[in-house]
């Protein structure tokens, strides 16, 4: 896929996705007197969430149905070996021998993006002095993006819980620590935007990454950027009626859906895009969220020599047995003084 085509396709898709709720909720009532708020405020969100959960479970179950025939961790530190060869904590986690080690490795991988932290950048130079510099920008942006997204999600719990749990208030307070702008600007929103922009720019500007990128790489970036954008607009610019919105969202989570008056079309656009993200999630690369837990190069301990790993489909294969081997070479072996099982060479049987 050419980058221009990719951008047009994914940008176009986002435009259409914005236009659908806009036209349906804003224009239809004017033109035809039809009200579709129930569709975009109730039916589609419910559908999207159902698709999300069913889809994720389907994907994980599909992976789970594939056996792991071999225990193949990528070992990134000294192995467990002779007792006097000491291993520090990093090595125990990067090359785990025990289950606890594997759990630690997975926690580091999932929560701290351990492997990405190793990233280096090639500096080829004249080719005779090739160097590799530590390069943490991708790690930083990835951490920034994922954690800010998580914080934004948790903050949104204020629309989905009543009363609000304590951790939501704490996170809000911390997130709005600098108390600037009105309503208070959240750092997570700004950082999320910055990280997404960085990830998008590096995809566009680093030739190698641009080369491997597909529309499926730009689309989620655009989608999440647009979701963040509409959210920010609602909070700071076009001021949404949060009380009505919370009535709608609480209706959704308590299964007594209703459409209150006075909710702006911007909210329906935001909600529709979120619904699209939920529904798109299980069928795209975004499933790395659950996939990372199942990666056989990370979630297995390097203890093959101490504990046997079982391959459920261990194939029966034809071996070349010692007896066959000796039959092939018996005379030569005897002549060379090598021990043999059968002393008399069965010359008649051969050929």
């Amino acid at each position: 896929m050419n980058v221009i085509v990719s951008l047009i396709l994914s940008g176009g898709a986002i435009s259409i996705l914005v236009a659908i709720p806009f036209l349906a909720v804003w224009a239809l009532p004017y033109v035809f007197g039809i009200h579709l708020e129930w569709l975009f405020g109730i039916v589609i969100p419910y559908l999207a969430v159902i698709i999300f959960f069913v889809g994720i479970v389907y994907r994980v179950v599909k992976w789970a149905k594939c056996p792991v025939p071999f225990r193949i961790p990528s070992t990134c530190g000294q192995q467990y070996t002779l007792p006097w060869i000491k291993r520090n904590y990093a090595e125990k986690l990067d090359n785990p021998f025990t289950k606890a080690g594997v759990v630690g490795r997975m926690i580091l991988e999932v929560l701290c993006f351990r492997s990405l932290f190793r990233n280096t950048k090639l500096n080829f130079g004249d080719g005779l002095h090739v160097r590799y510099a530590s390069s943490k920008w991708l790690w930083l942006a990835a951490m920034g993006f994922h954690y800010c997204f998580l914080i934004v999600l948790i903050r949104h719990l204020r629309f989905f819980t009543e009363p609000m749990p304590f951790f939501v208030s704490i996170i809000e307070k911390v997130d709005g620590f600098f108390q600037f702008f009105l309503p208070v600007a959240y750092q997570s929103g700004l950082l999320l935007g910055a990280a997404l922009t960085f990830l998008l720019l590096r995809r566009l500007l680093i030739p190698q990454v641009r080369y491997v990128s597909l529309p499926a790489d730009y689309f989620p970036l655009f989608l999440i950027l647009t979701i963040a954008g509409t959210g920010i607009l609602m909070r700071y610019v076009f001021k949404a009626d949060v009380v009505s919105i919370k009535e709608l969202t609480m209706g959704l989570v308590t299964f007594s859906p209703k459409i209150p008056e006075g909710i702006s079309v911007l909210f329906y656009i935001h909600l529709f895009l979120v619904s699209v993200l939920f529904a798109y999630f299980p069928f795209s690369k975004l499933v790395h969220m659950s996939g990372v837990f199942l990666s056989p190069t990370r979630n297995l301990s390097n203890n093959n020599r101490a504990v046997r790993h079982i391959n459920p489909w261990n194939p029966k294969v034809k071996l070349h047995t010692y007896e066959e081997y000796e039959d092939d070479f018996r005379e030569k072996m005897i002549e060379a003084g090598l021990p043999v099982e059968k002393k008399v060479a069965p010359t008649e049987q051969k050929e």
Binding site: N2, K62, K65, C66, P67, V68, R71, I72, S74, G77, T81, L82, I85, E109, F113, S115, L116, R118, N119, T120, L122, F124, G127, L128, V130, A142, I206, Q208, V209, V212, L214, D217, F283, K285, H288, G291, L294, S295, P296, T297, N302, N303, N304, R305, A306, R308, H309, N311, P315, V317, K318, L319, H320, Y325, E326, F329, K332, E335, A336, L338
Partner: protein, 551 residues
Amino acid sequence: MAEIPKSWNVPSPDGLVKEVDHSPASMGLQKGWMSTTPVEIKPGMHCYAALPKRSKALGMPNPRNWSAMDEDWKLPRNWKEIVLEGMKERLGKFRSFQLFMDICVRCGACADKCHYFIGSADPKNMPVLRAELLRSVYRKNFTTAGKLLGPIAGARDLTLDVLKEWWYYLYQCSECRRCSVFCPYGIDTAEITMMGRELTNLLGLNIDWIAAPIDFCYRTGNHMGIQPHAYKEMMEFFVDEVENYTGVRVEPSFNRKGAEILFVTPSGDVFGDPGTYTAMGYLVLFHELGLDVTWSTYASEGGNFGLFTSNEVMKRLNAKMYAEAKRLGVKWILGGECGHMWRVCNQYMGTMNLDMAKGSKMEEPVSPITGTKFENAKSTKMVHICEFTADLIRNNKLKLDPSRNDHLTVTMHDSCNPARGMGFFEEPRYVIKNVCNHFYDMPENTIREQTFCCGAGSGLNAGEDMELRMRGGLPRANAVKYVHEKYGVNKLACICAIDRAVLVDLMQYFVPEVDVTGIHEMVANAMILEGEKEKTVDLRGEPLPGKEDSK
């Protein structure tokens, strides 16, 4: 600079390096990669096709004469069906394959980690793209989005051109797993390459440099096709050499029932320099310890090119180790210095073949010299010789005079497989530091788990793909050059038979001042032997430091 043989068909190192241009324009990154198929199959960048007789020996499909340079690859009429069926089967059998097809986000962290990409600047050698070659076909045939949206979803049909592209790049990957260290999801291109190579093998698209060793190993017990009597003769030659240089006559035994330990090492060590010196090192060590050990002519190969073919072939070849251990009644197996052998013995052997050891006399390995239990090998009962020797040194069981290696300034090449398939870093270093006085590691991004391939792993160590090998070896050579210039390193130690074969060429090409050695060659040279004559030369017959005049 040493002469570079004409038969290599490669430009001078400077010329080769100058050609490597990572600029976007030079790499042709303007076009989307899917529109760059068909790929030009270049001589020097691929290996010769497997001869029909090889495939026949193991009953592999579609034996015939063919060449990658030909237009017609003489595929079975239903080749597409075979590949897609094979893909479906493997997606169901390997979680790694299914998962790695699904979860890549194309972040590009792996892109510049591949030695072949670094040395060739061919964007399809970026691990992510190598995988996308297969993923695109996966999407087209196994995902709804791919079926409906085609190229928009990154999906494409499996055509003959696509298959050729697969083949070309699957056999430009040495399954070194360096990319998997950096991938945030642990996506391992080696897994994808292995699956891809299994698929090519369904069509009879192997290379001869892999197929021949398999064929030989299956019939004669080793890659080189050395028959039992010849194997013994080679070893007897070593015995004479050792006596000649040390004054000690070692007495190896072969296929001996009742021995305590079975020793298995790559046949490359018995056949080609400088591996042969390492083999002599083993002989010296075993003799000095009085170890109750036997060599086997039946299981005379540690290496396993089945790993580069298919899991079934790997199992068929590996089975001999346990079969022979059981037949001879040994207690445990000692494994020599080898890279991919240890990937198999560490990560695959127990799973595949431990059943064969049922009813044998094998038990948890214990060093008869030190009494150390090798608890970490209690299931497979196979110990790495560097673990064994490190334990000996630690317990002061070897009389060593490291000054005998004072003419060496050593660095250590971590072989990919023991590094990233085992985590084998400290044992060899401990041994080296105890047998020689001058040791310097290469820069940290080029050793241990980040080590670079020798450029010729996974069966690509042929003679016709020298350009590929030199390009792939460029990062390794560069790091060696660095320590050579900085510390005067003149010896590159490694624990892999393929390394010992191919690093010699690589050094000759890029850093001719540096020579290659196995670790146990240095161990034997530093050992003070019982009843040795006054030593003036090492196992290569080269004068020891301070003894240059006495020869």
